[in-house]
Symmetry: C2
Subunit: 155 residues, 2 copies
């Protein structure tokens, strides 16, 4: 996978430094939509000199070059996703987890729904990115009565 990350970063037109490769690899292998802080904390032990600034810069560069997508489903922080296939995100307001939602059969369903949405745009509007977020209660949490609610697993 290391080679693959290296190549993908290079293909996107960015210099595949050690830090960038590590960050992309982590994001790719941990599809839980980590935040900058989660990535930094996870990689720090292996890369002691890694700076949070670099994580910020790197993820922004990745997003600008279409290598990853940034997800605005939290009120305060940004999450990142190395999976750039069309899919939705679901945030459980009880446990705080963010789930991927794919349509059966090659994501066609979500693409269709999104294309439909774009037809409502007035003349002259150009779409670059479209994102659908759903908030609610996930399956694990919906079986637990609300008054037995566990502490939020935010972050």
């Amino acid at each position: 996978m290391s080679d693959n990350s290296y190549l993908k970063i290079a293909e996107a037109g960015l210099r595949p430094s050690v830090q960038r490769t590590a960050i992309y690899e982590y994001l790719y292998e941990h599809p839980v939509h980590p935040t900058v802080d989660m990535i930094y904390t996870a990689l720090s032990p292996e890369y002691p000199t890694l700076s949070k600034t670099t994580v910020y810069n790197t993820l922004k560069a990745f997003a600008d070059h279409g290598l990853v997508q940034s997800i605005q489903i939290e009120e305060d922080k940004v999450r990142y996703d190395a999976d750039i296939r069309p899919h939705l995100h679901f945030k459980c307001i009880r446990c705080g987890s963010v789930y991927d939602v794919f349509a059966p059969e090659n994501s066609r369903g979500i693409q269709n729904a999104h294309s439909k949405c774009c037809t409502f745009l007035p003349e002259g509007f150009i779409t670059q990115k479209i994102q659908t977020n759903i908030w609610g209660i996930c399956a694990s949490c919906s079986v637990v009565p609300a008054d037995m609610e566990q502490p939020h697993a935010e972050n």
Copy 2:
């Protein structure tokens, strides 16, 4: 309209204080998805003792009671919308404006697209709120060549 705001707030189960009524009214009459800061700055002259904390508290209370919706289309700050009919939001990455996008004929199209999206959720997931954001170039900006780009009109 003042009476109407008062009633709507009361119906939502909140005490319609002077501040709350003013904030709701401003939001209702300025459908440009203002931020907390924009509302605070706009109302400050008329209500010199108004505090930003009150604007934060009020909007959060409104959102919790379904009177307004919070929009997470910015990376840093939250925007608010007094229009709670189903609609999409489009953010122009050039001028920074956030537009409402309605479907023709009573929003049925957007509701359908959103319902479709919810069918992709696994068993046991309960939807409470769904939001679609589109980023791109708006009609006013798309007629201007990129190198003649105006300064961003953020905030």
